[in-house]
C-alpha cells in the first residue's frame, strides 16, 4: 500500500477507529445537495441490518467548495425520523478527509481502498454521492454477499426503463458481456460492494492511477474483478435516480470518456477476454423491482433525422473505420428516418469494428470514439422507436437479444484483434 495516500492526521483518526467490519466509502466532489441523504441511508442501513458490526463511513473529498465535507460530518440519522428504531449497537464512525492528489473519483477510490486495507475491513461499499434513490436496503444488498463469502465484487442491478441509460444498455453492457463472458448488467457500477481481498489486489495493480483509470475507475474495477478471477455477483437494488447538482460534461465528452474506458480495459485484459467463450451467468441476489420511467423522453424523430444527416456527413470518416458491408448496412439504415431500423447484428458489428479501429489507432483515438456517437444516437433512436409501446418483459427480451448479437459478433472481432 502506498502510505503517502493517507495523511498523518487521517492515520491518527484511523488508528483511533481500529478494525472495522464494514467500510462505506463515499467519494465526493461538490455534492452538497445530495450527499446528506446518501450518508443517512448508509448509516441507517448499517444500523438496521448490521447493528453489531463495527462500521466506518469514510468520505474522501477531492476538492469540494460547497461545504460537502462539513455536511457529511454533520449528517445524522436522528432528524430523518425514519430510522430511530434501528440504531446500531456500536458506534458507526464517520471520517471525512480532503484528498490532495490527482483530482477525480479514481484517486478517491484508491484512498478508500487504502483505508479498507489498513483497517482490515471485511467488506467495502462504495456509494455514489449524487444518487438520490439510495435507501438503507442498498447496504445489505451490496454487503451481505461479500460478508457471507459468496462474492468478491457485488455490482448493483437497477431496474431500467426502456429509455433509461441507453449508453449502458445499448453499448457498454452488451460489449462487456460479450467480451468478458459474464452477464454483468451494470459494468459502470456507480455503487458496489467488494471484499478486502479485492481491494488489496486493486491497490497492488500498477495500472491504477495511470491515464486509463481517472474517468473509468468503476468499469476498470468491474472488469479487473472479472479478468483476475474474483467472484462477481449482482444485487437487485431499486432504480437509480441521479440528483441535479452535479455538473455533468456534455454528451460527446461523456461518451468519449466511457468508450475510452471500455477500450482501455479491453486492451488491458485482452489476454483474458480473447480466450473467453459464451457468457456465464453472474448470480443475482435479491428481487428485481419494477422499472421507473426516469426523466424526459428524447426527441426520437429528431434523432432519426439527425442520424441520416450525420451518417451522410461522416461517410468518408466512416469508410476508414467500418468494413464495406457494415458501412452499407449503416447507410441503408439511415436512409429512411421515418422507418428507422438499426438491427442488433448490424449494431454489434458496428461497435466491434469501432473498437478494432480504436485498437489499431487507424486515426486519432478521440476521432474514433466521437465518430461513433452519431451512430449510437441512431441506434438508440431506432430501439426507442421499435419499443415505444413495449412492456418491460419485451424490452428485457430485446436487450437480451442484443447481448446475444454481440456474443455472435465477438469471435470474428477477436480473430481480427489478434492480427493487429
Amino acid at each position: 500500500m502506498d502510505e503517502s495516500l493517507l495523511s498523518d492526521d487521517l492515520l491518527r483518526q484511523l488508528v483511533a477507529t481500529g478494525h472495522v467490519d464494514i467500510l462505506v466509502g463515499v467519494p465526493t466532489l461538490n455534492n452538497a445537495s445530495t450527499v446528506v441523504d446518501v450518508v443517512r441511508a448508509a448509516q441507517a442501513g448499517i444500523g438496521k441490518y448490521f447493528p453489531r458490526a463495527r462500521a466506518l463511513i469514510f468520505n474522501a473529498d477531492t476538492g469540494s467548495d460547497d461545504g460537502t465535507p462539513t455536511l457529511v460530518r454533520d449528517a445524522t440519522t436522528d432528524d430523518t425520523g425514519t430510522v430511530s428504531a434501528s440504531k446500531p449497537l456500536r458506534t458507526t464512525h464517520r471520517i471525512t478527509t480532503p484528498y490532495h492528489g490527482l483530482p477525480g473519483k479514481s484517486s478517491a477510490m484508491r484512498m478508500i481502498f487504502a483505508v479498507a486495507d489498513l483497517l482490515s475491513a471485511d467488506a467495502v461499499v462504495a456509494l455514489d454521492p449524487n444518487v438520490t434513490s439510495v435507501t438503507p436496503d442498498w447496504i445489505p444488498a451490496l454487503v451481505s454477499p461479500v460478508l457471507d463469502g459468496r462474492a468478491d465484487l457485488v455490482a448493483p442491478r437497477y431496474p431500467r426503463a426502456v429509455a433509461d441509460a441507453p449508453l449502458v444498455t445499448q453499448l457498454v453492457r452488451p460489449l462487456v458481456r460479450a467480451a468478458y463472458g459474464w452477464t454483468l448488467y451494470e459494468p459502470l457500477m456507480g455503487e458496489f460492494g467488494c471484499s478486502r481481498q479485492f481491494a488489496t489486489h486493486c491497490l497492488d495493480v500498477s495500472t491504477w492511477g495511470t491515464a486509463m483509470t481517472p474517468d473509468g475507475v468503476d468499469l476498470w474495477l468491474a472488469t479487473e474483478a472479472l479478468a483476475k478471477g474474483f467472484r462477481p455477483a449482482q444485487a437487485a437494488v431499486g432504480p437509480r435516480l441521479v440528483g441535479p447538482s452535479r455538473k455533468r460534461p456534455a454528451l460527446p465528452d461523456v461518451f468519449q470518456q466511457v468508450l475510452d474506458a471500455v477500450c482501455a480495459c479491453l486492451e488491458l485484459h485482452d489476454g483474458y477476454w480473447l480466450m473467453r467463450g459464451q457468457a456465464d451467468a453472474v448470480p443475482c441476489f435479491g428481487t428485481m423491482g419494477g422499472a421507473v420511467d426516469i426523466g424526459p423522453r428524447p426527441d426520437v424523430a429528431g434523432m432519426a433525422v439527425a442520424f441520416a444527416r450525420d451518417v451522410a456527413a461522416l461517410h468518408p470518416v466512416l469508410a476508414t473505420i467500418l468494413s464495406g458491408p457494415t458501412l452499407a448496412g449503416v447507410t441503408l439504415a439511415s436512409a429512411a428516418p421515418s422507418r428507422l431500423r438499426y438491427d442488433d447484428d448490424l449494431w454489434a458489428a458496428t461497435v466491434f469494428e469501432f473498437v478494432l479501429a480504436y485498437h489499431r489507432a487507424v486515426m486519432t483515438r478521440e476521432h474514433v470514439t466521437r465518430t461513433l456517437l452519431p451512430l449510437y444516437l441512431g441506434r438508440t433512436a431506432a430501439f426507442l422507436l421499435e419499443h415505444a409501446s413495449s412492456g418491460p418483459a419485451t424490452v428485457d427480451a430485446a436487450l437480451e437479444s442484443l447481448c446475444l448479437a454481440f456474443e455472435r459478433a465477438k469471435p470474428s472481432a477477436a480473430a481480427r484483434w489478434k492480427k493487429v
Binding site: 441509460a165 461523456v254 461522416l314 470518416v317
Partner: protein, 233 residues
C-alpha cells in the same frame, strides 16, 4: 589561291579533329556518367522501394491521409512515388554532372545550382506532406466536431478548413523553392484576404440567423436542450 584554300581546309580539318579528340573522351565520360548514374539511380529506386514496403510506408501514409490525396490527384502509391523521386533526383544529378564534364559554357554552374535546389525541393516536399497531414487532421476534427455540435453543413465547413490548410502549405512549399515567389506571395495574400473578407461579409449579411442559432446552441439562455436533458448514463 588554291593552296590557301587547301591550307584553310586542312587547318579546319585539323581543328575539327582536335575538337573531336578533345570532345570525344568527354562525351564518352558523360555517357559513362549518365549510364552509371542511371544504374545507380535505378538500384537506389528499388532499394528505397523495398525499404518502404518493408517498413509498411503505404500503411502509414493511408493513416495520415496522404494516400487518399495522391489517389485523388491520380498519382501512384506513396512508395512508388517516393522511389521515383529518388530515382529522378539521383539520375538528374548524374546527368548534370555529365553535362558539366562537356565543358559547355552555357551549362556551367547548373550542377552547383542543382545542388542548391535539391535540399530546398526536399524541404518543399516535406512541407507539402506535412500540410496534407495537417489538412486531413483538421478536416476530420472539424467534421466530427461539427456533426456532434449540430453545426449546419459540416462537410462544407470541414472542406473549407482543409482547403485553407492545403493552400497555405502549397504557398509555403512554392515559396521554399522560390518559384515565382513574388507572384505566389501576392496571389496568396490577395486570394486569402479576399476569401476571408468575402466569408465575413457573406456570414454577416446572409448568415445572421445561422450565427444566432450557433451562438444559441453554444451559449443557451435556457439550458439544457432536449438532447442534453435526456440521460444517457
Amino acid at each position: 589561291m588554291t593552296q590557301m584554300v587547301a591550307e584553310a581546309v586542312r587547318q579546319a580539318g585539323v581543328n575539327f579533329m582536335d575538337s573531336v579528340a578533345t570532345l570525344l573522351p568527354r562525351i564518352l565520360i558523360t555517357a559513362a556518367i549518365v549510364a552509371v548514374g542511371w544504374v545507380i539511380a535505378w538500384a537506389l529506386k528499388w532499394a528505397v522501394r523495398w525499404i518502404l514496403i518493408w517498413s509498411r510506408f503505404n500503411h502509414g501514409c493511408e493513416r495520415i491521409g496522404v494516400s487518399a490525396v495522391l489517389k485523388t490527384a491520380d498519382l501512384p502509391a506513396p512508395d512508388i512515388l517516393v522511389s521515383l523521386i529518388v530515382f529522378w533526383l539521383v539520375w538528374v544529378g548524374f546527368l548534370l554532372s555529365g553535362v558539366d564534364v562537356l565543358g559547355f559554357t552555357a551549362l556551367e554552374g547548373m550542377v552547383r545550382n542543382f545542388a542548391v535546389f535539391v535540399p530546398r525541393l526536399l524541404v518543399a516536399i516535406v512541407i507539402l506532406v506535412l500540410g496534407v497531414v495537417c489538412a486531413n487532421f483538421a478536416w476530420r476534427a472539424t467534421l466530427i466536431a461539427a456533426v456532434n455540435a449540430r453545426v449546419p453543413s459540416p462537410r462544407v465547413v470541414s472542406g473549407a478548413v482543409r482547403a485553407l490548410v492545403l493552400i497555405l502549405a502549397g504557398a509555403m512549399a512554392l515559396d521554399q523553392i522560390a518559384l515565382a515567389r513574388t507572384i505566389v506571395l501576392t496571389a496568396f495574400a490577395i486570394a486569402f484576404g479576399a476569401v476571408m473578407l468575402g466569408l465575413a461579409i457573406a456570414f454577416g449579411v446572409g448568415g445572421g440567423g445561422i450565427a444566432r442559432r450557433i451562438l444559441d446552441h453554444w451559449f443557451p439562455e435556457h439550458p439544457p436542450s432536449e438532447r442534453e436533458e435526456f440521460r444517457h448514463l
